[in-house]
Amino acid sequence: MVDPVTWIVHQRRSRPLRSRAATFLAAWCFLALVMPVLAQGQTVISVPATVPWVDTGVDLREGDVFTVRCGGQWSFGGATSQQVSSRPRNRRNATLQNAPIGALIGRIGDVIFLVGRAYRGEAPSSGRLFLGMNVVSSMYSGNTGELQVTITNVSKSSYNASGPVNSASPSEPVVPKRRYGVAAPMNSASPSAPVVTKRRYGVAAPMNSASPSAPVVPKRRYGVAAPMNSASPSAPVVTKRRYGVSAPVYSASPSEQAPLVSGAENTPVPAARSTMPVSNGPHAVATATGRTIVPVTATATRTPRATPVARSVSKPTTPPRPPTVAPVSAAVPAVVGLIEANAAATIERSHLHAVRRGEEPSARGRGQVTRTDPVAGTTLKRGMPVGYWLATGENAGTVATVNSAVTITLGKRNGTWAFVLFVAGLLAAVLAATAIGLRMRLVKITRSLLRIRASLDSKSETNFPDHVQKAGPTAHLQAQLEMGEARFEADVPIVKREVCDD
């Protein structure tokens, strides 16, 4: 005899709708994970030595992890040309006193910090990131040169690619640097102190080792490490990071390892690609093996990155150009609002034939095109006629206007982001539903999940021309009715006319 509870569970699981809904939700979650990765951005700018502060255009929130990598040369005071990594002596009246003169420094809000050749850390405050040279007494005259700076807001990615990810070449390494990290007690049992990257020349030891021989474990604030269960140098060590999925870090032999120099700010580190650099220094960051890490191509503008890990070493190949074929179709241009001559010329330039259909009352000025048939954007064969109507100068007015609103309850703070997810989920729903023939049902599920409530009987409100509704988790609908023209098939027969004398 079948246990009734088991039977019910079995029956529920066998329902196809459940499995389809699960598929839908899985697709939703997948998109929710993937979309933030796609949203990661990178900014490449030039920082001249003659400008106090250069606006990078990068807005950061407090705690955002970002990296700055730079190359190039500049000099200060007309003296010796200094490379970025050089460390001239400090000055009291420098912009940043405890930083070398001539070094690249950053400012977010009122907080100024040293960037140097490469920087990785958390934003000390919220605001726009400015970069510039650390100079004495605000003396920028005589400075020459500029630096090419690449800024990456790592916090925008769900995967935190730590280590020398953006290392352009072995000769241009990146030193991961933490300035605002807060160290936690080593053997902290608190789940909120999960950091841990501990490697000493490839020999992993248990995190909470009480042995006096246990090495010091450096701690990264933004790193979350799992216990290192490796008992031998060759055993893999699993390192979890706070922002990402755990990635195994394989301990290589000591000869294969290139330890970072502990505490060396702005010190170059031998670039590692498939073999991970392991260090006991405070800035050591483990990088997952098996990932191909390639420099990001610098461009003059902000370039979104598809994903921080899926990069290819080989240069992108340019797809072969398709053979050019003369287009046989043309899109109807948007000429509404133009005067007749300009509208006709525009239509003719689109290889279409402009035909005046008549005049009609309109809110537009006399002689302006009120509409076209077909509407703008319609694709026609070349030479096809496009009819247009001109305004008579009399305002036909809007016969009726209906304003309505569809409320999408998505939360106020992350409305835009939620909307993106909403559209992505909807797309997934449509794709899935097209395959299994349940489109309408899934759309209803989507609406119920997102708590979309329609309210067509909204209050009447004044809408001005070109008025854009406020952004928010609400879809506004505005329907207007404009009176058009009347076309008589034949003359209107007037049977009789009378004039009333009263």
Binding site: F419, A454, A475, L477, A486, R487, R497
Partner: protein
């Protein structure tokens, strides 16, 4: 107007579900309408409702607009032929015309303002007879008439409904709001 015909413009359109699907199909054929079509997929029923709400007009109001542009009546705007204050009654015989109206639907989601969707509703009127009162270049009232109308809703050149003819129960006498409908 003192009297209203029983028929509303929206009554000549198909039901919401059919309209929703046909509009969505039409948007799919329109280039550059991907986002709008996507939005329509979610709020299509509300958008269709808004569209039909704006078409909640008396059919006779729209038909009467057609007479205002008839060239045979244009002479009544000439004050030399028809001086101010003259009240005329014009009896029209059987005639057919198509009066167009343009429902325009704008969907705004957050800061994303979609392209306004401009529909075309062609109201084909077959009038067998009507008596118009004209004064100072305005049609002030309409006497007894008879006819039938059909509506065709289109998006671009795509028909969104099947045109069906419906007989219009013309009211016995319709007085327009002063000064009336202007003859152009």
């Amino acid at each position: 107007m003192t009297e209203k015909a029983e028929m509303r413009l929206r009554d000549l359109l198909p039901d919401n579900a059919q309209m929703e699907s046909t509009v969505k199909e039409a948007l799919g054929k329109e280039p550059g309408m991907g986002a709008t079509r996507l939005a329509w997929g979610v709020i299509g029923s509300e958008a269709t409702g808004a569209l039909k709400s704006v078409l909640d007009l008396d059919v006779f109001d729209v038909v009467a607009q057609g007479w205002c542009v008839a060239k045979e009546l244009h002479e009544y705007t000439d004050r030399s032929k028809h001086p101010s204050g003259e009240r005329s009654v014009v009896y029209l015989g059987q005639h057919t015309f198509v009066q167009s109206v343009y429902p325009i639907l704008t969907i705004t989601i957050g800061s994303f303002k979609s392209v306004p969707l401009r529909f075309t509703l062609e109201l084909a009127a077959n009038i067998r007879g009507a008596a118009l009162a004209v004064c100072n270049g305005y049609i002030t009232s309409v006497g007894s008439g008879d006819g039938d109308v059909s509506a065709q809703l289109k998006y671009g050149s795509i028909n969104l409904n099947k045109q069906q003819s419906r007989k219009v129960p013309f009211p016995a006498h319709v007085e327009f709001t002063t000064p009336g409908l202007p003859i152009v």
